[in-house]
């Protein structure tokens, strides 16, 4: 059982790290602001979700697990809101030039 949980942790944390890498590469390589925003917000939130999934088997109590999930939910909500706001600001910046 413990071995199976270790496999879950290794698989999910590795996948999360991969998505973080993909988000950063997108942020650096994509040609304009809105595509960069797309790469960053999707890939990073997914990567954080996979990290949380991988860390859940290692928590000591139910309370710690719920707290981890709460962190992820807050990041998801904030990420969705903030990406819209940054896209708004980018459009405003572009229309001024």
């Amino acid at each position: 059982m413990s071995f199976a949980l270790d496999i879950v942790t290794i698989a999910a944390v590795s996948a999360g790290a991969f998505f973080f890498l993909a988000g950063t590469v997108g942020l650096l390589r994509f040609p304009d602001t809105l595509t960069r925003l797309h790469a960053l917000t999707k890939a990073d939130n997914l990567g954080l979700g996979l990290m949380v999934l991988g860390l859940l088997p290692r928590t000591e109590s139910l309370r710690d697990g719920i707290k981890l999930i709460c962190v992820w939910v807050i990041v998801l909500l904030a990420g969705a809101t903030v990406s819209q706001l940054i896209a708004y600001a980018a459009r405003r910046e572009g229309s001024r030039q």
Binding site: A17, F20, T24, L27, L28, V71, A78, L85, I86
Partner: protein
């Protein structure tokens, strides 16, 4: 397992450092703000890993605080110079 999680922590921190190049290159304020957003997300991931590796459960509370602060940073960036959100942008070519 501790070694693996520590390696993942180092990897996330390296990615965070590489993402800072975007702040250097710009070109717009929004791009720099996105790099700050990346610091928020990967910083949270690093704190969660650190909390699990070292057994310090307070690191999760720090991650929660960082999640809130990262959101507020971007909101204050967008509100910069505007007293309110305009319904339509001046000079915008889009209909509606």
């Amino acid at each position: 397992m501790t070694e693996f999680l520590t390696a993942a922590l180092g990897f996330i921190l390296a990615i965070l450092a590489v993402g800072l190049v975007r702040i250097l290159r710009g070109p717009g304020d929004a791009d720099r703000m996105m790099a700050a957003q990346l610091i928020g997300t990967s910083g949270i991931a690093a704190l969660l890993l650190l909390g699990t590796v070292s057994g310090v459960s307070a690191a999760v509370d720090v991650a929660l605080t960082l999640a809130l602060l990262a959101a507020f940073t971007s909101i204050s960036f967008v509100k910069k110079g505007t007293s309110r959100f305009e319904a339509d942008l001046p000079g915008s070519t889009e209909a509606g």
